[in-house]
Symmetry: C2
Subunit: 136 residues, 2 copies
């Protein structure tokens, strides 16, 4: 299904997803066209899900990075999900996990004030344990 060249292609595109097919071809010893058709195949197979950018969240004004272990007392998780919907700007990931907590929520905030506001409102629906990222 996938061979060594495909792996190299994925590694190359992970580093620079905007590389031209010609460049990519050079890296894996193929013509641009051959590289391109392999990439199209990887996209069709769903291995490459899409192209995106790495954004400096600090420069974007969201320096406060944190993880929250979420503990739901109630049996109904919907209020929590609904709340997250309304705070999409802050939420980066919400993982349903095994272990003590029900969810692991990853967020970004402009400052501790916004974080505090978020926590106050979050606490209306669930309990949490907060971990702030000191260094990524």
């Amino acid at each position: 299904m996938m061979d060594a060249t495909d792996i190299k292609i994925i590694e190359a595109l992970r580093e620079n997803g905007r590389m031209t097919m010609k460049e990519l071809g050079k890296k894996v010893h193929l013509t641009g066209q051959a590289a391109s058709s392999r990439v199209i195949k990887l996209e069709e197979e769903g291995i490459i899900e899409g192209y995106t950018i790495r954004v400096n969240e600090r420069a974007m004004g969201n320096p406060v990075h944190c993880f929250l272990q979420i503990f739901t007392n109630s049996l109904h998780h919907k209020p929590y999900f609904s709340f997250l919907e309304t705070r999409q700007e802050y939420v980066r990931n919400n993982y349903k996990i095994s272990g003590e907590a029900c969810y692991l929520l990853e967020c970004r905030f402009p400052s501790n004030e916004e974080l505090d506001q978020f926590l106050i409102q979050l606490n209306e629906h669930v309990s949490y344990k907060l971990s702030i990222v000191i260094r990524g």
Copy 2:
């Protein structure tokens, strides 16, 4: 520094980082060239750190996704870091965090067997609490 158009550009590129400048320009009501020069500026300012792909980790053969809270008994964290170095293929992120644990370690594994091996060796250096991601 950044205006509404820049925000739109970043949102558009987050969704599709390989979009042509012409397309991008259309989205934000600019010519391709104007869009391009804004993108170059955002790159130079370090707001756009780079371009990459979203890879389907399941299709890539790493369906087991987990987070580990790391507790270091010893005062020396170096053995732990050295260990991580030798297991880069599995490690996605290692966040230094506030809270109960010292680090939050995000990993991917092909199967529970590899995870188990990893945990056995990890345990030679630190204690941990394991959370497996049920749903991203």
